[in-house]
Amino acid sequence: MTTSRAETAMNYLLLVVVCAFALGPIVVVLVTSLQPDLGGGGIAWGNYAEAWSQGSFARYLRTSALVSATVLVVALTASVLAGYAFGTMTFRGSTVVFSLVLVGIMVPTEAIVVPLFYDLRTLGLTNTLWAVAFPQMAQSIAFGSYWMRAYFRTAPRSLMEAARLDGASERRVLWSILVPVGRPAIVTMTVLVFMWTWNEFLIPLVMSPNGAYRTAPLALALFQGQHVQATSLLAAAAVLVALPVVVVYLFLQRHFIRGMLEGAVRE
């Protein structure tokens, strides 16, 4: 295809400009986080240590990890099982139940969090891991069942038939054959659920009012309110909170992009 050199040059310029727009604010935060306090010079790596201890981020990052892991284990297992049923079995009610699951992908958190808080409070379950994790599991299961169903529907039938002829049980077909083959789909779902749970704000804010299960993003928002004068500390804290997801993203970016784009495409 023929394109002029000028056009190619312009394209590169455009690439750079758009990248600069995307990275600009991030660079600002990184630079700010390394700025020394009034009067000092050089690069203040110490800001990270100070933000870490002042905001008790060790504790909150641990909480975030615990919540994410809990949500992941349950949501993943439930989604694989449900996706397998939806994708490989024909049964009455399948369409209705699946439609209900699809509803959940679009329902905003705001629509469930109000009664969840008051009902769980009546049961004495607020301020527990479960209050923070279960609603997020439910949301992830909605997406996960949809996502895994799509995979199981395209999974090689021949593989399943062959295994069944060999006398393998349904369970074995699922766990020993389909799941290993479906690793890419499962990895994609894992990184997405991890990202959503890690970044979630409203649910931990509401469901753990006493702060027992305060996650890192929440701690960051409160850190801002706790008369932090030094913007540099706040910036450092922001970097700490964002880092885990960003690192996973850098390694598994294809999964993130594929999941977020394809996950939204209706069949």
Binding site: C19, A85, F134, P217, Q253
Partner: protein, 288 residues
Amino acid sequence: MTPRWRPWLYLVPAIVVYGAFLLYPIGRSVQFSLYEWDGLGASEFVGLANYLGVLTDAGLRAAFGHALVLIAFFALLPLALGLAVAAVLNRARVRGLGLFRTVVFVPQVLAMVVVAVAWRAIYAPDGPLNTALTAVGLDSLTRAWLGDYTWTLPAVGIVGTWVQTGLVTVLMLAGMARVPREQYEAARLDGAGPVREFVALTLPSVRGEIAVALTLTIVAALKTFDLVYVMTAGGPGNSTTVPAYEVFQRAFRTGQVGSAAAVAITLTVLIFGLNLVINRLVEPREDR
């Protein structure tokens, strides 16, 4: 043949968790929305009064109005930018598209709180934005971005543009890449300029992607909570309140739980409705 109950066995864990923590709460929200309740004492059945409040309460109407403004910044602006950038990039082969995709997608994976903290610092009266404006001699444009009745809502909106543009661009690039090169060659042989090429060839090929992009970004705009909570708390005045923020305030701060539920349900219906409209508008023939 699989026994009848077998599928349900596999579905049990999902149905139990999903039913108890998503479907059931939606029903409860609907029910809550018919009561007046302060979250502490006894409740009183008020019928649809809370929904009437959504229509008549000036504060709530303003909140939904702000959400519409945010849609322009979260959805329309990124779509325009994304289409333009992708169309230009699609015309000529350039290297580094993979890296480009990685970079512009980054804002999507950051926690909204992190984004909000970053931009609040950027918009601060003595922050980088004003410093930069002063440095290039545009002192007259400097202002307290988050304390200005005209500019705060757009300032919050621009953050949405920043977050969503990368996603939309990547989506459009993927759609355009599916158009066979030969079609472009043919169009050019016919003497089509860049504009006609875009309108006649590129745009129709990404109809589906446009629908997806609009759905994702509009829902994001309507669900905006973290950003407002952290950046402006609805201020100055009430100039940046949004429905999700009103839900939180009413349900957990000011003891108007029923009204909060009504706002939440209205928001949900709005999201479903917009979804439906977008899908009909963009993919009329694919209606099965």
